[in-house]
């Protein structure tokens, strides 16, 4: 029909949007500067792979050769750093309360004496489990140090009884547990966190920028001017969104390059698949932003909605706390966020190296989100924007869009089918 005109239409919408972006620095700040700042910020926060030199306090009640040897071992351990040796228990507990130490280790009186007499004795580590990561690290290190010391003592004893070194070692430590780290050879919690955090930050900006871009047309009453730039409302929306799609896709792929190539996050699958998923991710959140503006018809409220949607996502995606522990309704709630599906793909391709079939359902979900504005306006035909999104010269074109919607329900159906099969 008007193919020539609609091509120009799309271009002119894009051109208009670029003008708007140039005119207001807000867009550049939101779409480029702040996201980059966030990436840098988290890279800085998580720059130390594993917490080292966790401060602890020690109470040595024995003052023997053995106790001093153990204390030297503790200080030498890479995870632990002795900040102070205290002289009584109360001081030790206080050091935990005021935060100067994460753990307080107590070496009992008569340690060496008891060891020589083969009497039982024990070293106690009080770990501040409000901060679970340091507590677990110190706990594990201390366990290892005391076990090693014990084995050494046992070997010495056996050597004194005339066993050979080899015999002594075996008898003191018959079964040894070797740990292998399947995914993170450096005990690196960082990959895990960063891989989730950076996309979370990105989606916040995608939502806010999109809502602002579309909502400000309403607020500044330039809606009609915008719509008239294109021959068709549909093209007006797409054209307006495209510049941001490009910007955020570039940012998103940059994030992935940063994560997988520079930060060394494990990538056992295909980078291409993750990149495609990232583009879907960007479009999905843009679509959500547009939908929020459509629903609320007000910039302020749409922003509220967007903010409320963007922030709890990390918890709902079940990442900081393993998905096993989260109550079922919350897991289902998590599926309503495109981030959860993107994360699924990112994990499957990154850490787990699974093949494409496995992640297709997630792509399907993402696609559903991408089509949300269309879905919404079909459903709420009358209550959509003043100019109906499907308002076109003749209504016979309408069925065409329904076909697209049906087509995109297919991946979802496939996904449900797969889940039931599993």
């Amino acid at each position: 029909m008007n193919t020539m005109k609609s091509n120009t239409g799309l271009q002119s919408v894009i051109g208009r949007e670029l003008e708007r972006i140039k005119a207001k620095p807000t867009y550049m700040v939101l779409a480029i500067f702040l996201p980059l700042l966030s990436i840098l910020l988290f890279s800085a926060i998580l720059s130390e792979e594993v917490p080292r030199d966790i401060p602890v306090t020690v109470l040595d009640r024995d003052h023997s050769h053995l106790s001093r040897k153990i204390i030297r071992m503790i200080d030498a351990s890479p995870s632990i750093s002795i900040s102070k040796q205290v002289s009584n228990i109360e001081e030790g507990h206080k050091s935990i309360r005021d935060g100067s130490a994460y753990s307080f280790i107590m070496i009992p009186e008569g340690l060496e004496r008891k060891v020589l007499r083969h009497d039982a004795t024990e070293i106690v580590s009080y770990n501040n489990n409000v901060y679970q990561i340091p507590a677990a690290l110190v706990g594990a290190s201390m366990q290892s140090i005391v076990t090693t010391t014990s084995i050494g003592l046992k070997v010495k004893y056996r050597l004194s009884k005339g066993e050979t070194t080899k015999e002594a070692l075996v008898h003191a430590h018959p079964i040894k547990v070797d740990s292998h780290y399947l995914f993170n050879p450096y005990k690196n919690y960082l990959y895990y966190l960063e891989t989730a955090l950076l996309p979370v930050m990105l989606q916040i900006f995608i939502l806010i920028t999109t809502i602002y871009a579309f909502g400000s047309e309403l607020k500044e009453k330039t809606y009609d001017k915008w719509q008239s730039t294109a021959s068709h409302a549909f093209k007006a929306y797409i054209g307006k969104a495209i510049p941001y799609t490009v910007i955020f896709s570039i940012l998103g792929i940059f994030i992935n390059i940063w994560l997988f190539k520079f930060q060394g996050a494990p990538l056992r699958g295909s980078f291409f698949v993750i990149s495609v998923a990232m583009i879907f991710f960007v479009i999905a959140y843009q679509a959500l932003g547009i939908t929020f503006v459509m629903i609320t018809k007000d910039l302020g409220q749409a922003l509220n909605m967007g903010a409320g949607f963007a922030v709890p996502v990390l918890a709902l995606a079940g990442f900081t706390f393993p998905g096993v522990g989260i109550p079922k309704p919350a897991v289902i709630l998590g599926k309503f966020f495109p981030f959860s599906h993107y994360l699924e793909i990112s994990l499957a391709q990154g850490m787990r190296g699974m093949d494409l079939w496995y992640v297709l359902p997630s792509f399907g979900y993402l696609l559903m989100f991408c089509l949300l504005p269309i879905t919404y306006s079909i459903i709420s035909n009358i209550r959509s924007f003043p100019k109906e999104i499907l308002d076109i010269d003749s209504w016979y074109v309408r069925p065409r869009y329904s076909y697209i919607l049906l087509f995109c329900l297919l991946p979802l159906a496939y996904g449900i089918f797969i889940k039931f099969k599993m």
Partner: protein, 413 residues
């Protein structure tokens, strides 16, 4: 026009803190979005997070055991590992590939491997090995799986050592003591069950309160600027301590409106999820006293940069998650570079969460969190001073533009 008359009346009336106070209240209730911002975030987020993490602990982590040895000893170990509360053996196989596949499919979170010559080595009195394959990406699983495997193998190891010592002629009792010259006990304080929400939720409450206040006050400020509703304050701003009066009046309004609400939320939350409060409540209140004003003054400083009411949400939303990480609860503070920790002090939440956690979860007394308290007071002083300066500049500019003839219809971006 009656509008001018009204304005004149208003101008003559707003001369004291209480006038500003009343004025603020009327603004708060004028725009729906502002109310929503105030209540929604502070109310919903903590409860949402509390609910999500309400299952607290990860127990019975599913693992696989690959038994290449097929001996009674191997089965013994499998049983012992399964018997621990830390792990649950959901897959027993003699094919490592199968276990690996289950691992990649997320059906198991760890694998224990009993090698082929396990029994032989034990019989020949050589050191035998068990391999543990772990998933460190889920930190909480890793701890449990290691514990399960260690405890499980520990039984057999102890038995072997004791038997061997008895063979050498040591009486059983002595043998048992010889096996473990020095034992080690890890006591996990304040959170013995390693509950996840215990440290996260108090932090989220404080953070949600801060973000809500920042955004809401920002919105009110932006809203006022857009609709030029601050003109009635201009005469007061010219007074000697006019700006301070304005700011303090606003502060009192926000404080009164918000703090009661915040306290209710906190009580509700703590009782719903049964969080302990180990310190004294008085200490908590005294500690948090400088927190709210510091956030409000911080908001005043930021508000002077927001020209419309949407700007505050737009530019503040993203700060929530970074602030959470900078408080040191999701990622330990010692692992954060020191220069970044220093910058983090700009946010009242950093110090407030620190002290709040210490008092409520660790039973610290006020004197033990003196440093954080001091920082909060310091922030109060700094932000108030800066706010006064910025607002004075703003009001001066506005007063000038008002007195100029061609000052009508300024379109705000």
């Amino acid at each position: 026009m009656s509008k001018e008359n009204d304005q004149k009346n208003r101008e003559s009336r707003i001369r004291s803190i209480s006038d500003v106070f009343c004025r603020e209240y009327s603004i708060i209730f004028k725009d729906n979005t502002i109310i929503i911002a105030f209540f929604a975030a502070a109310l919903i987020f903590p409860f949402l997070y509390g609910y999500i993490y309400s299952n607290e602990v990860v127990r019975e982590v599913p693992i696989a055991i690959v038994d290449l040895d097929n001996s009674a000893l191997g089965r013994d170990i499998t049983r012992n590992i399964d018997a621990t509360e830390f792990v649950n053996v959901v897959l027993k196989t003699n094919n490592f590939e199968e276990a690996k596949k289950a691992f990649y499919n997320d059906e198991v979170k760890g694998i224990a491997l009993i090698p082929k010559d396990f029994r032989k080595k034990i019989m020949r009195q050589e050191q035998a090995h068990i391999s543990a394959y772990l998933d460190v990406s889920y930190f909480l699983y890793y701890k449990q799986v290691m514990k399960g495997i260690r405890y499980g193998t520990g039984f057999l190891s102890a038995k072997l050592q004791i038997n061997n010592l008895m063979l050498k002629g040591n009486p059983k009792e002595l043998a048992m003591r010889l096996r473990d010259p020095i034992s080690h006990v890890n006591k996990y304080l304040f959170n013995p069950a390693s509950g996840y929400s215990l440290f996260l939720i108090p932090a989220i409450i404080i953070l949600a309160l801060q973000q809500t206040l920042l955004i809401a006050i920002g919105m009110i400020g932006g809203f006022s600027r857009e609709e030029r509703r601050f003109t009635d304050l201009i005469p007061l701003s010219k007074d000697r301590f006019g700006i301070e009066t304005i700011l303090l009046g606003k502060t009192l309004a926000y404080l009164s409106f918000f703090v009661i609400f915040a306290t209710m939320v906190a009580f509700l939350l703590f009782s719903t999820f049964n969080y302990p409060v180990r310190g004294s409540l008085i200490d908590v209140f005294i500690f948090l006293t400088p927190f709210f004003p510091s956030v409000i003054f911080f908001a005043f400083v930021l508000t002077s940069f927001f020209k419309s009411k949407e700007n505050s949400i737009m530019f503040l939303v993203f700060s929530g998650i970074p602030c959470l990480f900078l408080t040191g609860v999701s990622w330990p503070k010692i692992a954060i570079p020191e220069w970044l920790q220093a910058i983090a002090l700009i946010f009242p939440s950093t110090s407030a969460v620190d002290g709040f956690l210490k008092i409520t979860q660790m039973g610290a007394s006020l004197s033990e969190v003196y440093q954080q308290w001091a920082v909060l007071w310091g922030l109060n002083v700094i932000y108030f001073t800066v706010a006064v300066v910025l607002w004075r500049m703003f009001f001066r500019k506005e007063a000038e533009s008002l007195s100029q003839p061609a000052s009508s219809d300024k379109k705000t971006p």
